[in-house]
Amino acid sequence: MTTQFVSVTTRKDWSSDQEVRWCPGCGDYSILAALQLLLPELNIRREETVFVSGIGCAARFPYYMNTYGMHTIHGRAPAIATGLAVTRPDLNVFVVSGDGDALSIGGNHLIHALRRNANLTILLFNNRIYGLTKGQYSPTSERGKTTKSTPQGSLERPLDPISLALGAGATFVARTHDMDRSHMQAVFRRAHEHHGTSLVEIYQNCNVFNDGAFSDINSKESRAANLINLRHGEPIRFGANDEFGVVGDDTGALAITTLGPENESRVVVHDEHLANPARAFALARLMVSDHEPTPMGVFRDVDEPEYGDQISLQAAASREARGEADLSKLLRSRGSWHVD
């Protein structure tokens, strides 16, 4: 990609000719729209953009993008995309996954992708349910969830993708939600710009099998009280009148408090770039149960060597040390003799 290139595409250019087949009202539509509207602004080429997905409702995403795309198998998209990204550093590789795809069957590939830090942008559509298979609970479902496979309620405590990612050493971790296009776009842009693996959790409503899973947080009525917008360099405050703030307590955890002159100075100032992930983790664990005020935005964004870059460096070092590849020499490298 040359730097002179200026994209003059529109949403239509990024939309494939396939009918979109999600249920009417599904949150996936607004994520698709957010991305199709954002991509023309990123000054990247369609033919250098690839969407790789696993299996699930979310994973149908690539079919709707007029880019290169691969709809693969359940849970393996991060691994497949890694092979693509390291061999083709010229591409913009996006991974689209669901909470089951990324965190249940695919959990291991996800954590290894995150620590490996190849140049991937992973979008995790979290609807806290298995949509495609018609409504079983997922790893992010709240405990006690009654579903087809748990008629008496589920028993496991949910996985929080943000804390899991931080535990695995992720370099870019963010959260956004399907009800706010401009927030999604801002976060997607940042994720795309991050050189390395970025993970974006997207709260996504499945109106058929888990309707309203996030409405306590992101509905018009709840947002002011329950949605915490993280902004780098700014104190973490929220509420209709910014009356609440996030402060440290003396157990190392973060807590929410009502602000007044006496404690205003204690409000934590958000810093995405801290080398130590402890603060970001504390932020991810702000909620002790569901439906509590929830941070949105970039939790962590730090620079670490990108995996593919390092491979290129090693290849260069190899050539440096041993000279350009010489097959004929290689075949003789274990000692050879001549017979006349």
Binding site: S16, Q18, R45, R46, E47, E48, T49, V50, V52, I55, P62, Y63, M65, N66, T67, Y68, G69, M70, H71, T72, I73, R76, A79, I80, A81, T82, G83, L84, A85, V86, T87, R88, D90, L91, N108, H109, H112, I311, Q314, A315, A317, S318, R319, R322, G323, E324, A325, L327, S328, L330, L331, R332, R334, G335, S336, W337, H338, V339, D340
Partner: protein, 622 residues
Amino acid sequence: MVVHEQSALENVVLRFAGDSGDGMQLTGERFTSTSALFGNDLATLPDFPAEIRAPAGTLGGVSSFQIQIASYDITTAGDSPHVLVAMNPAGLRANVHLLLPGAMIIVNGDSFDERSIAKAGYRTNPLEDGSLDSFNVTSVPMTTLTTEACRDAGVKPRDAERSKNFFALGLILWTFSRSLEATLEWIERHFANRPTVAEANRRALHAGYHFGETSEMYAPRFDVAPAPYPSGDYTNITGSAALSWGFIAAAHRSGLPLFLGSYPITPASDILHELSGRKEFGVITFQAEDEIAAVGAAIGAAYGGSIGLTTTSSPGLDLKSEAIGLAVSLELPLIIVDVQRAGPSTGMPTKVEQADLSHALYGRHGEAPLPVLAALTPSDCFSAAIEAVRIAVTYRTPVVLLSDAALANATEPWRIPELDELPVIDAHFANGPNARTDDGAPAFHPFVRDASTLARPWAPPGVAGLEHRVGGLEKADELGHVSYDGANHERMTELRAAKVAGVASSYPALVVDDPQGDATVLVVGWGGTYGSLAAGVALARQRGAHVAHLQLRYLNPLPRDLGAILATYERVLVPELNLGQLARLLRAEYLIDVASLHKMRGAPFTSTEIADAIDAAIREKP
């Protein structure tokens, strides 16, 4: 066979055995090197314990290395050693049953103390209890002689003792009339920055050599002449190295980058090790978190226009099934190497078996056919790798290439090909529209097929206008988008099957080894048993049998000329290191009542086993 003194021999089989810590593999390799340089044909068979180290001195801890050297073309490391070098009682006990009466045994006498004898499971000292009377036994106090030789060399006696394998090597080199030169040079290079170790090894080597020369108690000496080789440059190569280099060569001849996604597993890891040091060749190796990620990454790389390769051994192949099925459905090139080991489950991880054939053929849900090849010898691994890439790239299909634990570790001399002897592989990337939309605009349809190969276009990202989506759902013929249409699914299933079946049209004609042309019995083997079957057939012929031999490299699709060949023999014998998987395939395909000979002992067939089975088949002929 009884060994005669000073005799000029056509071939000798030699086996080194000792504790895992005794350096037997190294000794064997050095002897191999010297013999190869000398010009013998040779074949080796390393045999070491499963990965966990057994307590020193026990049978479980024995490590052996067998080599056959010959003045003619040989194919195996031989059945029964003529010479056994045993560094300890366990090494003796584990191998003595392999020897024919009259064989020569050289032992490290120092190691036959009471404790070691008991540890090996002997009740009495075999050197003294008469149990070895039918052999020609020489006991040499190797430990003592080695430590003595190293006195004042700057190493502690305990460390000096470690050089005793070089003593043994020196002794054997003398016995086989070989010079020390190559070994001395190797020591020089290898221990460059450990000069005292180098010195100790040098001294031990000389001591052994001189012991042979001077000791009165020691008589027989062998002399195996060089084999007549076609002219060229030669190297000694293991199956693992040959495979690795074959893939590098395929990358070179196709102009494509090579991407290996792998997860370590014995005995496949050596390919990963070998390729990980070859980044200057545009090779990327990726040690994945598991086998699924490994094959997944290879698929991603293939989608991006690389040669996607994944290597594993048997249990790892199980885990790759689903992703291989995806590659079948995507119709992307992909090579899966399975270095087979003894199963089921974890089985016997360092031992050979050929029991993954059916799994390679059918181990995926749905109708998901793919080409399956097998390498025949260590050096054949090189061309089998290139052939696998050719098929994968030409037909846009995953290909399974079967090797095995014996091939992987065995060595043979190999004439290094000139680069321009190697086939050229053309990726034929799609470079523009190949269709029109309903309203006549140029379009790219990712599942339009080449008329002759039925291959679809390979269109890695990067080309404007060829943007397209592929996936594991059934695709509309030509168009490639998702289709649930039943008739389309049937057509696509048949097309995929026809494409794979069509690979057979690109095979060379089969060549049956039937020197007299009048055999009534045909031995059909596949893959890595080539050497042992050829040797067995040769033995049977020596015994007077008229027997033909055909070794299959292509297991799916089967060669088109195979049916006619099978039909010309009265009896077909199919020896396999499994319970009869190729036999089943041949029966189903050709409705011929082939006789299956199986062996499941984690070891190759011996010539005698094969020759005896041939004799029986001739007697039983319908």
